[in-house]
Symmetry: C2
Subunit: 109 residues, 2 copies
């Protein structure tokens, strides 16, 4: 099948999974880290940074845009990318909430 049965899970579970999926590729991690490093807009020099073709990078950027993690603002010929702080913080607290729910120090097995 290759098709996730989303309908049997809760909205929150699907959202968490989708968020993870958006970051479940080293290229997308690298893109985000590059945007973090510059602490500002990055005007389309991402292709030079990573060793992937322009079409591939564009595809990864699209996925990050689809989940709202980054924005792309057209600036003449180039496009300026930056992280959306609002979505970023949403993700952060969602993950915090997920991880905080386990505090046991010892393994029961």
């Amino acid at each position: 099948m290759g098709l996730t049965k989303k309908e049997i899970f809760t909205e929150k579970q699907n959202r968490l999974a989708a968020m993870m999926k958006a970051l479940a590729h080293p290229a997308r991690i690298a893109i985000i880290q590059h945007l973090l490093k510059t602490k500002a807009c990055v005007c389309g020099d991402i292709v030079d940074e990573l060793g992937l073709a322009q079409a591939t990078i564009s595809q990864h950027l699209k996925e990050l845009k689809n989940v709202g993690l980054i924005q792309g603002n057209i600036e003449g010929v180039t496009v300026c990318y930056c992280i959306d702080p609002k979505v970023w913080n949403q993700y952060r607290s969602l993950l915090d909430g997920f991880f905080v729910s386990y505090t046991n120090k010892e393994n029961c097995c």
Copy 2:
């Protein structure tokens, strides 16, 4: 291709991505949450909880075991699953480190 070019990324980027990937499915989120909820070992009643076939659940459990997030201890006929606190905390701090690196309140674009 369908093949990730892992060699052009750093070890840490690949690890982060692999971690995200392990949690990038609602069924695996649900499994983890079930283990969290019971706060102890869960002896193979996971199939009844989710609406997926036994073979499918077993596959998801395998992926979670592969990244070390959960352990499966054989206990007679059934298998007892529980979260590995060590790996869990490793994941937590890796993600914390990733998300903490961005603190801007405003969008520059």
